[in-house]
Structures are given as structure tokens and as C-alpha cells.
């Protein structure tokens, strides 16, 4: 689903990611962790083509992202659900509008949009705030609207950047349960988070970034991309990822 081969990203000559190589298969649930400034958000932005890699190859859903036209990029993003670290809610639209507008792109009739929006808001426990504007919500509530928007179109791939950063422990756990449930229904999930407790709690595969490099999963990271490619056909949807119960890196 997502394949990074020796990806390097520099911002004006400053190297943020170096030689990052990993593979996430369809149906996996993966955490991305590491200290602040390690490059987690940058890595996610590369996946949805909001940033261009300085070198290396990124393949998402079978296509190389760097060469996507704006139209194809939009198409790729429509197939994903993305929870941004800073939420990115539309300030002058209500909670319900913020969630439902992504369904408009899919040409969904209004009644269906309304139903789906309500369901998504229910999942994040915000169905009673449909008519509120983002500025009338707490940080955690805004974060949950962003979550609902990412889930509402039932994406193939869910990318979440610190989706629980502003939530209390109970809600954070609830949201992780929600992610697991979505993952079981077939959505590939990639979550960037600082929250080691949360990672422990769920016990999923974890990629750890430190100073721009992927730590842990030692031998896997050092594998050349061709070897990773060869292993891919053996994997089918629903298979337990091979290294799921390997040692927890960075823990």
C-alpha cells in the first residue's frame, strides 16, 4: 500500500528525512512515532503528496506519488482519509458541513451525505454539535471533527497525524478502538503519535523515526527495496502482517 525506498527529504538544504525505507501492506495498522521534530508529519505529507521527496521513491497504492499530476493527486487524496495535525477545518462552516463536504466530491446525494455525516459524527461522539462552528469547539472537539471528516468517505487508507493529541485518556482509547474497528473492516491505518502508552495499549507494528531515520525494525529497514518487492506477492489482504509481534522498537 505504501512503499518508501531510500527517501530523503530536505527543507532548504536541511535534511529532515534520510534514506527512509519501509513497506506498509494493505490492511495493516501501523504507528509512526519519534520525538518532536523527528519528521513524522513530513513523512505523512510525502505520502499524500503535499511535499515532494528530495530523492528516493514513494509508491502509494501502486503509483509513484512524485510523478502524479494535480488531478491525480486529488484523486489519490480522495481515496484516503487524512487527519491533519492542525485539523484543517473550514472556519466558516459548521461541524456537519466540515464533515459532509468531502462527500460532495464523490457526487453523493444530499440525503445520503446527511446520513453518513451523522453516523461519522456519532462515532466521534459529536453528533449533538452538528451546527456548531469550529471556533465554538474545544481543541479536542475540533480534533474529533477532523477525525469524522477523515472517516466519513470510508477511505482505503487512513492517515492520522497526532489524532489523539488533544484528547483525554478515555477518548484517546475510544478513538484507537474506532481505528482498530475500521482497520478490521479493511482500511489500512497509519497513525503518527508521541503517545507511547497508546502504542503499548494497542500493541501494533511501530515505525520509529529519530533524527530523520527509521529506527527499530532493524533488519527490515536495511533490506534493499527489491527484496521488499519480492516479498509483496505473498501478502494478501487480511493476512496477519509478518512482523506484527516482533520486538517493539523504541519502547
Amino acid at each position: 500500500m505504501i512503499e518508501f525506498s531510500r527517501v530523503t527529504k530536505e527543507y532548504r538544504g536541511r535534511r529532515v528525512l534520510r534514506d527512509v525505507t519501509f513497506l506498509i501492506r494493505r490492511g495493516e495498522f501501523v504507528f509512526l512515532t519519534g520525538p518532536s521534530g523527528a519528521g513524522k508529519s513530513t513523512l505523512l505529507k510525502l505520502i499524500y503528496h503535499a511535499e515532494q521527496p528530495t530523492s528516493g521513491r514513494i509508491v502509494v497504492n501502486g503509483t509513484e506519488v512524485a510523478s502524479l499530476s494535480p488531478g491525480k493527486t486529488a484523486e489519490l487524496r480522495r481515496s484516503m482519509g487524512i487527519v491533519f495535525q492542525d485539523y484543517k477545518l473550514l472556519p466558516d462552516r459548521t461541524v456537519a458541513e466540515n464533515v459532509s463536504f468531502v462527500l460532495k466530491f464523490l457526487g453523493m446525494p444530499a440525503a445520503e451525505r446527511k446520513k453518513r455525516t451523522y453516523q461519522a459524527l456519532r462515532l466521534v461522539e459529536l453528533h449533538h454539535r452538528q451546527t456548531a462552528l469550529p471556533e465554538e469547539l474545544s481543541g479536542g472537539e475540533q480534533q474529533r471533527v477532523a477525525l469524522a471528516r477523515a472517516l466519513v468517505n470510508e477511505p482505503e487508507l487512513l492517515i492520522a497525524d497526532e489524532p489523539t493529541g488533544n484528547l483525554d485518556a478515555r477518548l484517546a482509547t475510544e478513538m484507537m478502538k474506532l481505528f482498530s474497528a475500521i482497520n478490521i473492516r479493511g482500511t489500512t491505518v497509519l497513525v503518527a503519535t508521541h503517545d507511547q502508552a497508546l502504542i503499548k495499549e494497542t500493541g501494533k507494528r511501530t515505525l520509529t523515526l529519530d533524527r530523520g531515520m527509521v529506527l527499530g525494525e532493524g533488519e527490515k529497514v536495511s533490506l534493499p527495496p527489491q527484496a521488499l518487492g519480492k516479498r509483496d506477492p505473498a501478502e494478501t489482504l487480511g493476512h496477519e502482517p509478518r512482523w506484527r509481534d516482533r520486538t517493539e522498537p523504541g519502547g
Binding site: R77, R78, M80, I82, V102
Partner: protein, 301 residues
């Protein structure tokens, strides 16, 4: 995506965009309205002037005056000659007695003088109504000459020249109006483009978010173009409203002051055709402005 729902979504977004930038939109609608109003004044003026030439044409007949010595055979021959030509739609013989009667009705102060003179000083005449095409025909002067050469004819009266001149003036006003209209429409398009560009700037964050969640480009740009079109449309409606108001104002002023000259010039409002022309001009200016504003240079990809 089904086109109907896509169109609906576009309009929906356009209207909410306009609502959110309503103050600026109001200003641009006002400017567009005034521009289109000016063009409308020209059109209205041209319309009424050409109305006058129409009226004149309806009333314009060739009058053939016979000599007092003319015979009834000569007069009948002339009527037949006129009827057989391709210029005439109706032929009316008006006897000298009838002409005198008309004169008395029109000039009652001279009535006694006119009735007392004997023999009747008014000549027998024949009035010829021209076919619409004949009026502008190049061969009309030749026909008039031939009429004058008929036996028994004293004089042929028909002053076509001033109608031609009036028509020239109408054409001039229409051309000037079209020219002014074009310039004002371009001006309006630029105003709209600027307002739309400003709304785009105000919505940069929103555009970025729309892009990040994969909104199709036509849904990102479409509402801004739609916003321009709606501005042009509203401007045109405003202009028509203003035009109707000032038209009725002038009519009332004419009625109050009995200013006949003005009354001759302002008698009817713009008919449907030119009104639609104004509205579509506004819409086109809006479309042009909107499209100018959403070029890649201004709305970053």
C-alpha cells in the same frame, strides 16, 4: 459525478461564497450596475429615436399635387401608375374639397379665410403610402422623378433625406452605445476579476484545505467563477431596475412640465430583446472576470 448534482454543488458553493464576501460583492455589483445602466441609457435613447423614425415612416406618404388644369383621366392614370410600381402599398385620392376640410380642422384660426376663398385654392392630390423596403431603396428618387413627370402633375412632395439623417443618428448612437458597452463590460469584467481575486486571497486557507482533502479542481475554482457570473447577473438586474426608475421619472417629469420635445424622445421602455442583451452582457462580463481571476497564476496548484 452526475452533471446535475455537480452543477448544483457549484451553484451552492458559489452562493455561499458570495454570501461570505457580501460587502465586497455589493460594491462590485454596484459598479457593474452603474456601467450597465449607462449602456442601457444609450440603448433606451437609440430605441426611442428609431421609434420616431418608425412613426414618421408610418405617416410618411408621398403627396402628388395636380395642376388645377389636370383632368380626371390624368389623375386616374397616375393612380394606376403608382399602383403598378413596386414602391407603393396604398393609394388614396384626396379631392381639393377634402384638402380644404383638413386645412380648416388643423388651422381653425384661418378657417374663415380658407372657406371664403373661391374657387377652392387647394389642389387635388393623391397620397401614396410607401412599402417599408421602398423607403430605403436607392431607386426611390428615380421613382419620384418619374411621378413628377406624369401628365397633370404639378409637384411631388417627399422629403426622404431627413429620415435618412435621423436613421444615421440612430445608427451612430447605437454604435457609440455598443462601443461604450464593450469598454464598460471589459471594465466590469476587470472589477469582477479583482473582487473574485480578493475573495480567493481571503479563502487561501480554505483552498489549501480543499486541495488537501482532494477536492476536484472544478469544485475549487468553479464557485469563484460562479461568483463572478452571479455578480454580473445581479449588476445587470440592478441596472435594469435603475433604468426603469429613471425612465418613469422622466415620463412623470414630461407629464408635469408638458415638455413636448422630451416627450417625443422618451416614449417607450427597452423591449425584451435589448433588456436580455444587457443581462447577458452582465453575465458574460461576470464569466470573463471569474475566469480571469482563477487562472493558475492566481490560484496556486
Amino acid at each position: 459525478m452526475k452533471t446535475s448534482s455537480a452543477t448544483f454543488t457549484l451553484l451552492d458553493e458559489a452562493f455561499s461564497g458570495i454570501w461570505r464576501a457580501r460587502r465586497m460583492v455589493l460594491l462590485s455589483v454596484l459598479q457593474i450596475g452603474v456601467s450597465i445602466y449607462l449602456v442601457g441609457v444609450f440603448l433606451l435613447f437609440a430605441e426611442n429615436l428609431s421609434g420616431i423614425t418608425e412613426t414618421v415612416r408610418d405617416e410618411s406618404a408621398i403627396t402628388v399635387y395636380f395642376r388645377p388644369s389636370s383632368t380626371s383621366v390624368e389623375r386616374e392614370n397616375l393612380e394606376k401608375f403608382a399602383r403598378d410600381s413596386h414602391y407603393v402599398s396604398a393609394v388614396r385620392a384626396v379631392s381639393s374639397a377634402e384638402v380644404r376640410k383638413r386645412f380648416i380642422t388643423s388651422w381653425s384660426s384661418l378657417a374663415t379665410a380658407a372657406t371664403s376663398v373661391e374657387p377652392n385654392p387647394f389642389p387635388d392630390t393623391v397620397e401614396l403610402d410607401l412599402l417599408p423596403d421602398a423607403l430605403v431603396s436607392r431607386s426611390l428618387p428615380g421613382f419620384l422623378t418619374r411621378l413628377a413627370a406624369q401628365p397633370g402633375v404639378d409637384d411631388v412632395q417627399f422629403d426622404v433625406e431627413w429620415i435618412r439623417r435621423l436613421r444615421g443618428v440612430v445608427t451612430l448612437i447605437q454604435t457609440a452605445g455598443a462601443f461604450l458597452g464593450l469598454i464598460l463590460a471589459l471594465g466590469a469584467a476587470f472589477t469582477i476579476a479583482n473582487v473574485v481575486r480578493l475573495t480567493i486571497l481571503l479563502h487561501q486557507d480554505e483552498i489549501e484545505i480543499l486541495r488537501l482533502v482532494g477536492a476536484p479542481e472544478f469544485l475549487i475554482r468553479g464557485p469563484f467563477v460562479g461568483g463572478g457570473v452571479v455578480q454580473g447577473f445581479l449588476g445587470a438586474l440592478l441596472a435594469l431596475g435603475l433604468l426603469a426608475l429613471s425612465f418613469h421619472g422622466v415620463i412623470r417629469y414630461v407629464a408635469a412640465t408638458k415638455n413636448v420635445l422630451l416627450g417625443v424622445f422618451v416614449v417607450k421602455f427597452l423591449p425584451l430583446g435589448p433588456s436580455l442583451l444587457l443581462v447577458s452582457g452582465g453575465v458574460l462580463a461576470g464569466l470573463l472576470g471569474g475566469l480571469l481571476a482563477v487562472r493558475r497564476r492566481h490560484i496556486h496548484g
